[in-house]
Amino acid sequence: MHRFRIPWSLFPVFRHSLRHAGTPRAVLVGSSWPAKMAAPAVKAARAWSGLALGLRNAVLRLPGLTQVRWSRYGPEYKDPHIDKEYYRKPLAELTEEENYERELRKTQLIKAAPATKTCSVFEDPVISKFTNMMMKGGNKVLARSLMTQTLEAVKRKQFEKYHAASAEEQATIERNPYTIFHQALKNCEPVIGLVPILRGGHFYQVPVPLGDRRRRFLAMKWMITECREKKHRRMLMPEKLSHELLEAFHNQGPVIKRKHDMHKMAEANRALAHYRWW
């Protein structure tokens, strides 16, 4: 709901780009709340939520929506296909649809691929997102090096445990830092969240089911804030992060505690659930 703002004035939105003069930008003129809330987020063409291209155009042309985060590309720009296997398929093997799509893409306008998205086999969108969230002041080099040092620290700790453990325990110890990372973040995701809703001059914290993306974001945000604030002055981030990730992997530690606190608050404010209208 924070993605669409309500301009209290009734002026139409100023049309910035003459390049996209043909494409209509959605303008808000006093339409009702449900219509706005029901519309899905427009920045949808990503790996996680796959909105069909047609629906995206329809949404853009829906009246009653202003986008806060918009791109300079018009709706006719298609997303780039970053996949070596897709392009390596010999022409004989393609089906009808794929052939049609290939021909279509030859004439369509395509957006530039972001610098962070590669066709590397080792690429992981979750790790990239986490690195971006850890980044401060645009220093991606530092953030990436911290991330790699954290993964290395997790791996070395697990190897030590492995060598110290007996034969039966060795089967249970997980040494892959990527599975540990994914599982830890999954364990930290809250199921239900609180949202401040204005009623009668007061803000009430209303329990609300969270979407996938919001949950992932909260898990990562909590992990990063926890590691930044609650550590000794001289302790380095990779050390602290690796420790927290391992604890979260085993469902212990302060981040899991924060998730449980959130759940308990939501349970306590159960009575206010009626204030939610979506």
Binding site: F122, Q149, K155, E160
Partner: protein, 357 residues
């Protein structure tokens, strides 16, 4: 590939029998040996790897094999030959040096190993004016640390070698002629003020007595370009100190001259710890400067380069056998091609890449 499963030398082949057919394969160093022979001198990332895998495995590579061949055929009556290992960053110069040192230790040579000469020309807190020579400066901390490690590495020789001169430390203490070298080392460790002089004495005695034939001397210096360059150290009046004015460096330069016989001198150039040298410099002329190059002049340069495909494959197999590459895609052909591209077959880069994959 043909090396699958053969990356380890299955029988513990004696180092003396390493030959060209073993190129690309790893050999194991037992951990007790490691502590005895290398109290200092292993690169820190290698130490971490040894701790993680619980075993120390070095790859046998061409530069080391070449050097071993030369060392096996040294003529101890001729003056000591200087070998200089040079190459770009991360190609394995320090580990090749460690391979040579391990070989010589197994052959019962006396190892004089300076792990990193750059540590002696920068970041030095306490500099004392030398008691022996008023113009020079002492570094008590570095000297005492080095003496401790030297003692651990060469225990058995310290009682055999006898000092050939009387040394007076101060009014109360002196070392008589004919007492074992161990006493000088002890004196340096306990009396930190005289540690630098103790180091100087050790070097002088070893140089004099190496010709006698009781032992073979291997002088191994890592980062030898620190001896002829500039230092980052300054006196109290902020005037810069030249390397000659440091007693440790002065004595070490005398050691590296080839006016003695009965051993060999193996040196490594290193840009990584150096001061005031450009990052891309790796050739001997660039790193040693005119003065250093002229002093070292007749030397045998040995280039240490990146992995060739066979060695790269062997390294990946070694990591896979130890389950170090945990990423699922790292086992595939695509993953290996990507690692090859990202690391450019540079051993250091490959190690750093595989650490987080």
């Amino acid at each position: 590939t043909m090396l699958k499963g053969m990356t380890r030398l299955i029988s513990r082949v004696h180092k003396a029998k390493h030959g060209e057919q073993h190129e690309g394969q790893h050999y194991n160093i037992p951990l007790q040996d490691l502590k005895a022979v290398f109290p200092h001198g292993l690169p820190p990332r290698f130490v971490m790897q040894v701790k993680t895998f619980n075993e120390a495995c070095l790859m046998v590579r061409k530069p080391a094999l070449e050097l071993l061949h030369y060392l096996k055929n040294t003529n101890f009556a001729h003056p000591a030959v200087r070998y200089v290992l040079y190459g770009e960053k991360g190609t394995g110069k320090t580990l090749s040096l460690c391979h040579i040192i391990h070989f010589c230790a197994k052959q019962d040579w006396l190892i004089l190993h300076i792990p990193d000469a750059h540590l002696w020309v920068k970041n030095c807190r306490n500099l004392l004016q030398s008691t022996y020579n008023k113009q020079r400066l002492d570094q008590p901390l570095e000297a005492s640390i080095w003496l401790k490690n030297f003692k651990t590495a060469n225990e058995r020789f310290l009682s055999q070698i006898k000092v050939q001169e009387k040394y007076v430390w101060n009014k109360r203490e002196s070392t008589e002629k004919g007492s074992p070298l161990g006493e000088v080392v002890e004196q340096g460790i306990t009396r930190v003020r005289n540690a630098t002089d103790a180091v100087g004495i050790v070097l002088k005695e070893l140089k004099r007595q190496s010709s006698s034939g009781i032992f073979h001397l291997l002088v191994a210096v890592d980062g030898v370009n620190a001896l002829w360059g500039r230092t980052t150290l300054k006196r109290e009046d902020k005037s810069p100190i030249a390397p000659e004015e440091l007693a440790l460096i002065y004595n070490l330069r005398k050691m590296v001259k080839n006016d003695w016989h009965g051993g060999a001198i193996v040196l490594t150039l290193s840009q990584t710890g150096s001061v005031f040298k450009p990052r891309k410099a790796f050739l001997p002329q660039e790193l040693l400067g005119k003065e250093g190059f002229d002093t070292l002049d007749p030397f045998i340069p040995i280039l240490v380069s990146n992995y060739n495909p066979k060695e790269f494959e062997s390294c990946i197999q070694y990591y896979l056998e130890n389950n170090w590459l945990q990423h699922e895609k790292a086992h595939t052909e695509d993953g290996k091609k990507e690692l090859l591209f990202l690391s450019n077959t540079n051993p250091g880069q490959l190690e750093r890449l595989c650490a987080y994959l």
